[in-house]
Structures are given as structure tokens and as C-alpha cells.
């Protein structure tokens, strides 16, 4: 509901790669905000709906590293005392792929033939890089876009400061972390900051926008979408 | 405080038994799992998690080379000699270079071939705590020494460390208090890695010395604004003379 354009770009890119894409309309949320705050039952309720929404699918592609990690890593813990839901959760986890991961590992595509001229840098979100171990896939996709100048972000695996409720519960610390992240982004001279997690991008773009910075933030899918013919 | 209350019923136990009983009791609460069961066996742990070690060639020359590289990178000095006479003259050079005046040294058979006491004829003060009429505590007189000379038990190629054991005639302070520490090691004391030294001590665990020290380079600290300080409490200079033996 906040960044539909990122989801639409994901849809567009997949369609351009000849993937048949459906968007189950009962899907809402993976439950992470509640889970990470320690409210387990509330998270389980939301998660059950998500599992139900995706019951009959072959692959599930998610343009969010943290949601993917939540489902793969935490659903088994969340439902360890509910064998029926646990089985379904594990099945969901097995079919689930993060966007870049799907392109590179399943479709085996690194170069989509996209063209876009810009200087870009990339922020590795914590869950995607450390919990899912996906670090190279998005970079490969980015570097293969013709016209892109890719600059590595200093300390790129350092947390941006979002952390769900952390960003409001511990707003001072969160802002301090964001300040450093933004300084690093600016130091690259990039026009666009790319990411694979909309929560990180919301956080970083919130800070950039507050200081009136012209640096754009974009999900990797959005850049690819713009670089490919309609 | 609530922990102690539990043991009103077990007053007869000694403190050790009470303490360990409590530990055992708490551990028993842990849910049994496959992983826990496997981890209970120390042999399983040691075999199931193998380590790939860096390659260090077998030859003494290669080990000496590696040792020298490691220690020099830390600011230590390494001299290689070919005979006891060579060792003694190298020792004299080092003493001159560092302007040594007051020397304390091991009185141990490992240094038998090095006539350290004869240095007094060259104007060095070779200190012993029998200097005074009444023996003084070692730490008091040793404090004025500027140089300490020891042997070694092992030299470790991988890290540039020497291993010194305490004992009669092998005082701890000699490698610790003076600003300069000179150790004489023999080439046949070389081992590749720390694991080799630990294996030796496991094999000889019935007769361990009261203290063993692995010494690697000079004393150091980075506590003041991350600046490197050398020679904080221990020696600022360490020189290892490696004597080749057959």
C-alpha cells in the first residue's frame, strides 16, 4: 500500500521474462512487525492468512528480502507447536524466492538486456544479506544494465536503522544509524540508491527527502523495469 | 538469594557439592534433543568438526623463516647463529646495541653453553639475589635489571612465539620485568604450530611446571586513543637468538 510501483515493476519484469504471474488477492502481510516486537500470537494470526493465500502456487516471488527471511527462517519457529500449519509453512518456504534470487538462481538470468543511464549504489539489507545469504544476485543484475555506473556503498552491510518498531521505539538511535547510512550513500556520488527491501528504502528515502536530497531510491525491480522496453 | 533458600533442605552438603548439585539440577531442565545428545560426546565434537591447517613445511629452515617473519612483523628481533660461540658473540652485540648494564638471567642447563657470568668481566653487572648479605625477594632486586636472558622450551613457527616454563633457575620475572628480553632457543626446539605445544603438555600433564608462558613479541597496548604503545609493563624489546644444532 506504500510502494505499489515496486510491486508493479516486479510484475512487469517477470512478465517480460515470460513468467506467468498471478497476485493472490488475499495476501496481506507476513507478520514480521509483530513477530519482531515479541508479539508472537498476533504474528501467527497474520501469518496463517498469508499461508492460506498462497496455498496453490508453484513459485512465489517476493520483492522483499526481509519478508522472505521471515517466512523461511521464522515460520518454522512460529508454528513449531502446530504441525498442520507448520507443514504448510515449510511448503511455502520451499516455493518462496526473493526477486533477485529468483531471476539469477531459478530463471538463470543475469542480463535482461536492460538499458538505463545512471550512477547507482546498493544497500544490502540485513535480512537478505545475512539471513538469506543473498549478496551477489542483485549486484550482478544491476551491473549488467547497460549504461549503469555501479559504485560500491561503503559499509554497505551495516544496518540502515529501520528494524521495524525499533525505528520509532528507539528513534534517536535509529536516526543516528540512518545519518551514517545517508552520509555513506552521499559519499558515492550516486544518483540512485538501490535496494531489495522496501522497509529499508522507506527509511533511507525518508531521511534523504527530509534533507531535500535529490538522490532517488528505488527497488532493483523498478530500475530493471525502467530499463526494459514496455 | 532465592537460590540459597532452596538448599535449606540440603544442609549437610559442602559448598562445592551444593554448588555443583545446583548446576546439575539446572542443566537437567534442558530439553533433550538429537544435537544435545551428540554434543555430549567430546570425541564426537573433536572428530566431527575437523580443522584444515595452513601448510607449514617440515624443514627446520622453513620453520625458522616463518618464525622470523612473524616475530619481525611484531617488532621482535631474530638472530640466527651456528654455534654456542656464535651465540655468545651475538649476545654480546645485542647487549652493546641496547646499552645493557644490569643483567638477570636463567640459571638453567639450557644456557650451559653460554658463559653469561663471564660477562661481568666486560663491565656488565650480572645480578643475582645473593648479591646482598641477606637474600632479598627476587622481585625487589630484579626491578633494577634492564636486561633479562632466558632460554626457551619451544619456538613456534606459525606465530613467532617462544614458550618459557618456570622452574628452579627459570624465574618468571626475568622475561617480564626488564626492558629488554633476550631468549636463546635451539633449532631443535622448533614446532610448527601452537597445537603441537598443547599436545606435548597433554602428553606430559602429570608433570607440568607451575607456569608456562607463550611470549610473542614485546608488551603492547592500544588503550590510549588506539595508539600503539610498546613496552607497557613487560619488555619493550625482545630478541630471539636461534642457535642451529645438529
Amino acid at each position: 500500500m506504500l510502494y505499489p510501483q515496486a510491486v508493479e515493476s516486479t510484475y512487469n519484469v517477470l512478465k517480460k521474462l515470460d513468467v506467468t504471474v498471478d497476485f493472490p488477492k488475499d495476501q496481506i502481510c507476513c507478520g514480521q512487525p509483530s513477530f519482531n516486537a515479541g508479539y508472537v500470537d498476533e504474528a501467527a494470526r497474520v501469518a496463517r492468512k498469508l499461508i492460506q493465500a498462497f496455498e496453490n502456487t508453484e513459485y512465489i516471488i517476493c520483492p522483499s528480502g526481509s519478508c522472505t527471511a521471515m517466512i523461511r527462517d521464522n515460520y518454522p519457529t512460529l508454528f513449531k507447536d502446530d504441525p498442520k500449519t507448520l507443514a504448510k509453512a515449510k511448503e511455502l518456504g520451499n516455493k518462496l524466492y526473493e526477486f533477485s534470487e529468483f531471476l539469477v538462481k531459478v530463471l538463470k538470468v543475469k542480463n535482461l538486456g536492460a538499458k538505463y543511464k545512471a550512477k547507482v549504489t546498493y544497500h544490502h539489507s540485513c535480512h537478505m544479506s545475512r539471513l538469506l545469504g543473498i549478496k551477489d544476485a542483485p549486484i550482478e543484475l544491476i551491473k549488467n544494465i547497460e549504461g549503469i555506473e555501479y559504485i560500491e556503498l561503503p559499509n554497505n552491510q551495516d544496518c540502515c536503522g529501520f528494524g521495524g518498531t525499533f525505528s520509532v521505539k528507539m528513534a534517536d538511535i535509529s536516526s543516528a544509524m540512518l545519518e551514517e547510512k545517508i552520509a555513506n550513500v552521499k559519499s558515492t556520488g550516486a544518483d540512485i540508491l538501490l535496494g531489495s527491501d522496501l522497509s529499508c528504502l522507506m527509511n533511507i528515502s525518508g531521511g534523504l527527502s527530509r534533507e531535500g536530497s535529490p538522490i532517488q531510491t528505488m527497488h532493483v525491480a523498478e530500475l530493471l523495469d525502467r530499463g526494459l522496453p514496455k | 538469594m532465592s537460590v540459597l533458600k532452596k538448599y535449606r533442605g540440603v544442609n549437610n552438603l559442602t559448598t562445592k557439592e551444593r554448588f555443583l548439585h545446583h548446576v546439575k539440577e539446572r542443566l537437567a531442565r534442558a530439553p533433550q534433543s538429537e544435537i544435545n545428545k551428540q554434543l555430549n560426546d567430546l570425541n564426537y565434537v573433536r572428530q566431527h568438526f575437523p580443522i584444515t591447517y595452513n601448510d607449514i613445511p617440515d624443514s627446520i629452515d622453513a620453520m625458522i623463516d616463518r618464525f622470523t617473519k612473524e616475530l619481525e612483523a611484531l617488532g621482535g628481533v631474530v638472530k640466527i647463529t651456528n654455534s654456542p660461540a656464535d651465540t655468545f658473540s651475538t649476545l654480546q652485540e645485542l647487549l652493546k646495541m641496547h646499552n645493557s648494564k644490569q643483567i638477570i638471567h636463567w640459571n638453567d642447563e639450557s644456557l650451559n653453553e653460554c658463559p653469561i657470568s663471564s660477562l661481568s668481566q666486560q663491565g656488565y653487572h650480572i645480578m643475582t639475589n645473593r648479591d646482598n648479605n641477606e637474600p632479598v625477594e627476587y622481585k625487589h632486586f630484579a626491578n633494577t635489571a634492564d636486561t633479562g636472558i632466558t632460554g626457551a622450551q619451544f619456538a613456534i613457527a606459525e606465530t613467532g612465539s617462544i614458550v618459557v616454563e618456570s622452574g628452579i633457575g627459570r624465574e618468571r620475572i626475568i622475561s617480564l620485568m626488564p626492558k629488554l628480553h633476550i631468549a636463546i632457543a635451539k633449532s631443535n626446539q622448533f614446532v610448527k604450530r601452537t597445537a603441537d605445544v598443547f599436545k606435548y603438555y597433554v602428553d606430559n600433564k602429570q608433570k607440568l611446571p607451575s607456569s608456562i608462558n607463550f611470549i610473542t613479541g614485546p608488551s603492547r597496548s592500544a588503550d590510549i586513543e588506539n595508539d600503539l604503545s610498546i613496552g607497557v609493563h613487560g619488555p619493550a624489546n625482545i630478541c630471539i637468538i636461534i642457535e642451529r644444532v645438529n
Binding site: I28 | F19, L27, D41, K199, N213, I215
Partner: protein, 467 residues
């Protein structure tokens, strides 16, 4: 309901420019040191896996190893004491000091001694306690607590150290590291010689031989354990390994993780007091084995945290520690390890905000040489904190969330209503402020995006209709 003391401490830290810079420089240096030095191992992951298994095994069999260790200690001629609480530990140490008519004690670094407030207790009993670790000496003079496990005085400048030392020596010392170090060496040297008692911590105890192992760099640890006649070791009961062969595993990891070294300048293995005919060394060795809440952790889902080897790696990669430093954590242990064990040792009700002082980024778990899943343990603590209650508003909020976000119709309604409600707060396509807490916390420093006019649910329907 964040503890106001915590908020104050965080606030203070965030406003101290020099301190923040020092923390950043130090943690950057140490984490790069670990990464670079780990490359000198063929595969650090092998060592980490082994270390985790080894430490887990040891903790699982803690009673057995403590029994073996203490038996061997006594065979070596040391005395052993068992302290279940901090009070027992300090009283026992004080008794030994009184028996020895001790007037001064030299100490080398021991985090457990901070847990039990040893210095304060001894000073109350008119015993001079001198910290001899350069960093600990500095903060002792400044009457502060450490701000980092390995480098406790990073919050000081050369200038502030010169000021502290100048007062001691009654002379004006320059703010230059070599001069300051030389001064500390001179002053503390005499203290080592004069002290009746030396107190150290214990990096690792070796059960098989009754050995106490110390990893140090300055030489003060060696002075403390061999110059005074009596040596007291304070040991957290979990700091134990089965055999020397296992020491090699922790040796490969601890110096690399703590200071970026292959090995510390000194690795001391003490097998009891000096033998009778030896001319130097402590005549007596006393080992105090301390529980102080650790047994509460045994058998619980948190047991793995006792694997910790106190290397500080987690601090050096933690983005939160990087911004707030050590004092903000309020107790002995800062950073991720502190956020986990402080509530466990001293009460979750008292330290409930610490597990939330994290974005759960998992950098700590990634860096930990013994593979403690710190970020998972922080999450477990949050779950336990929620169960403690006293969080009605938050529980209601998440309850509402779980109802709305598990029902497509309610979710649709939320979006519809939200799009209308936001209108007065939107300026130039962004929300800059005006919303109530906790959202106001966000908008203090960041803009918020607006709820899009069409979510992808709605766009998808359009796409399917061919628009």
C-alpha cells in the same frame, strides 16, 4: 515504556561528538582486524563450528568439568571457593585479603570482578585496589566504568589521560602516548612490587589439569599473578574447557576476534602456585568460582549464550553500539552480548529495554566466533518481555494489527480510511509531521511516504482488465 535512565544514557552518548567518533574509529579498526586476521586461517568457519560445539559441550557438562577442574586445582596446591552470589564472592576475597593483612591489591582485567563490585567492597574495607590494565587504570582514575570490553577507555583523549595522570604524579605530563605510557609503567611497577595480593580474571580454566589460562598483551597480567605473594583468580563458572587441545580452538579465535592478532603477546598457563624451591611466583593461589546468576541460564533456551568467550566481536559490528557506545547499556557488558546477558543475570524486569535496543540486523550472530545466535536470543527476550505484561497500549495496537491484517475485507477498509485520514498531513506528496506518537517519533527526523491512491491489489485488478 522505555526506561528513562536508558533514554538519558543514550541521549548523553549521542550528544558526545568525541565519544561517537572514538567508538566508530575503534570498532572499525577492531572489526577490520578480525576480518583480516581471520583470513590467515584456512577456513574460519571450521574453527567457529568447532568452537561452538566445544563450548556447548562443555556448558552441557558444566558440573562434571567444574568438579574435575577443582579437584585438579587442589592437587596442584591451589585453594578453591564456590561463590553462588556476588556477595559470597566479595566476602570470600575480602576474607583472604584480611588473612594476608593486605593493604594493597593489584588487579588485572576481570569483567566478573565488575559484576560483583569488588573494588568498591575492598576499598570500603580500607584496601587499596589498583587496576593495572592501562585502559582500566585510566577509567579507575576517572571513576568511570568501561565503555568497551576490550578497550575500556576509548572515550578518553590523550589530553584527558594526561590530565588524570598529571594529578597522580603531581607533574605536568604532555598529551603524548609514549610519555603517558612511560608514566603508567613507572607508577604501576612499584605497585606490583608492593602489593600483597594480585587479582586476575580467567580467560579459560582447563579442567583436565586444573590450569588457569590468561590472554594478555601488556604484561600486567603476568606481573599480577607472579609478583605478589598471593594470587586470587576470579572466574565466571562457565569459562572452562576440557583440555589443552581444546585451548587451541579458542586460541585461534579469541585474539583474532578481540584485537585482530594471531596471538596475544602473552598467553599464560598457571598450574598452581610456585613450586617450593622456585625463587619467584605467587606462594598461594586462590580460585573463586562465581555463579552470580549464570545457573539461571542453564537448562533454559538461552543456554548457548554461556558459550561466550568475551571477545567483543559483537560490539565491533553492532550498528547500535557504534552509535551509543558502552555506557548506555548501563551495566558491565555492553553491545549485543550485554543486551542478552544483562537481563538474564540481573532481571528482565529491570533491563527490559535492552533487548529492544537492536534492529535485529544479525551482524552480531554473523561475527560471533562461537556462533551464539545473539539476534535470535534478543528476539526470545522480547517474547518473554511481552509475557511479563505492563504493555497494554502496545498489546492492543498489535492486536488490532493482527485482526486487520489477517482479513482482506478489513485490510481493504483500513487502506480506504487511511487514504482519507492522511490528507491533512500530506505536503508535497510526503508526510512531514502532525501525527501522534509513536509515528511522530519517525517524523522527527524522517519524512513518511503517503498511502498510495491505488495499492497493487487494485492495480492488479486493472491490469487483469487490460488497463
Amino acid at each position: 515504556m522505555i526506561n528513562t535512565d536508558f533514554r538519558k544514557r543514550v541521549d548523553k552518548a549521542l550528544h558526545d561528538e568525541f565519544f561517537r567518533g572514538a567508538v566508530k574509529r575503534t570498532t572499525e579498526k577492531l572489526r577490520n582486524g578480525r576480518i583480516n586476521q581471520n583470513k590467515t586461517l584456512v577456513d574460519v568457519q571450521e574453527w567457529r563450528s568447532r568452537a561452538n560445539a566445544l563450548r556447548s559441550h562443555t556448558v552441557q557438562n558444566l558440573d562434571k568439568y567444574l568438579d574435575e577442574f577443582s579437584t585438579k586445582l587442589e592437587e596442584n596446591g591451589s585453594k578453591v571457593y564456590w561463590a553462588m552470589t556476588d556477595k559470597e564472592a566479595v566476602e570470600q576475597i575480602n576474607t583472604i585479603c584480611a588473612q594476608k593483612l593486605a593493604k594493597s591489591v593489584v588487579k588485572s582485567k576481570s569483567m566478573v570482578s565488575e559484576e560483583i563490585h569488588l573494588n568498591h567492597f575492598l576499598e570500603k574495607n580500607n584496601i587499596e585496589v589498583i587496576e593495572t590494565d592501562l585502559g582500566e587504570y585510566i577509567i579507575q582514575l576517572a571513576q568511570q566504568t568501561p565503555s568497551h570490553i576490550i578497550v575500556p577507555a576509548i572515550h578518553h583523549t590523550r589530553g584527558s589521560v594526561a590530565e588524570l595522570f598529571s594529578k597522580v604524579g603531581d607533574e605536568q605530563l604532555p598529551a603524548e602516548t609514549p610519555a603517558l605510557t612511560a608514566f603508567a609503567r613507572k607508577v604501576l611497577r612499584q605497585k606490583f612490587i608492593d602489593a600483597e595480593i594480585g587479582i586476575t580474571g580467567c580467560n579459560f580454566a582447563i579442567a583436565e589439569t586444573g590450569s588457569v589460562v590468561l590472554f594478555t598483551n601488556e604484561g600486567n597480567g603476568r606481573m599480577v599473578n607472579s609478583l605478589p605473594d598471593t594470587h586470587i583468580v576470579i572466574m565466571g563458572m562457565e569459562r572452562i574447557l576440557p583440555s589443552f587441545s581444546d585451548l587451541d580452538t579458542t586460541l585461534a579465535l579469541l585474539p583474532r576476534s578481540a584485537t585482530g592478532q594471531k596471538i596475544t603477546s602473552y598467553l599464560s598457563i598457571l598450574n598452581g602456585p610456585k613450586k617450593q624451591q622456585e625463587a619467584d611466583g605467587a606462594k598461594e593461589m586462590h580460585v573463586i568460582i562465581v555463579d552470580n546468576g549464570r545457573s539461571r541460564i542453564l537448562g533454559s533456551k538461552y543456554q548457548e549464550v554461556l558459550n561466550c568467550i568475551r571477545c567483543g566481536s559483537c560490539l565491533n559490528v553492532c550498528p547500535v553500539y557504534r552509535q551509543i557506545g558502552g555506557h548506555a547499556y548501563g551495566w558491565v557488558y555492553p553491545g549485543p552480548i550485554g543486551a542478552v546477558i544483562t537481563p538474564l543475570l540481573d532481571g528482565l524486569d529491570r533491563w527490559g529495554e535492552l533487548p529492544y535496543a537492536s534492529s535485529l540486523c544479525a551482524a552480531c550472530s554473523d561475527a560471533c566466533p562461537v556462533r551464539i545466535p545473539l539476534h535470535e536470543l534478543l528476539l526470545e527476550l522480547r517474547k518473554d518481555k511481552v509475557k511479563l505484561g505492563n504493555n497494554t497500549k502496545e498489546k492492543l495496537a498489535f492486536g488490532a494489527y493482527s485482526v486487520a491484517f489477517s482479513s482482506p475485507t478489513k485490510y481493504k477498509l483500513i487502506k480506504k480510511v487511511g487514504r482519507k485520514i492522511q490528507i491533512p498531513f500530506v505536503k508535497n506528496g510526503k508526510i512531514r509531521g502532525g501525527l501522534p506518537a509513536p509515528i511522530s517519533e519517525w517524523t522527527r527526523t524522517r519524512d513518511l511516504p503517503t498511502l498510495a491512491n491505488k495499492s497493487f491489489h487494485e492495480r492488479f485488478e486493472e491490469i487483469q482488465r487490460g488497463e
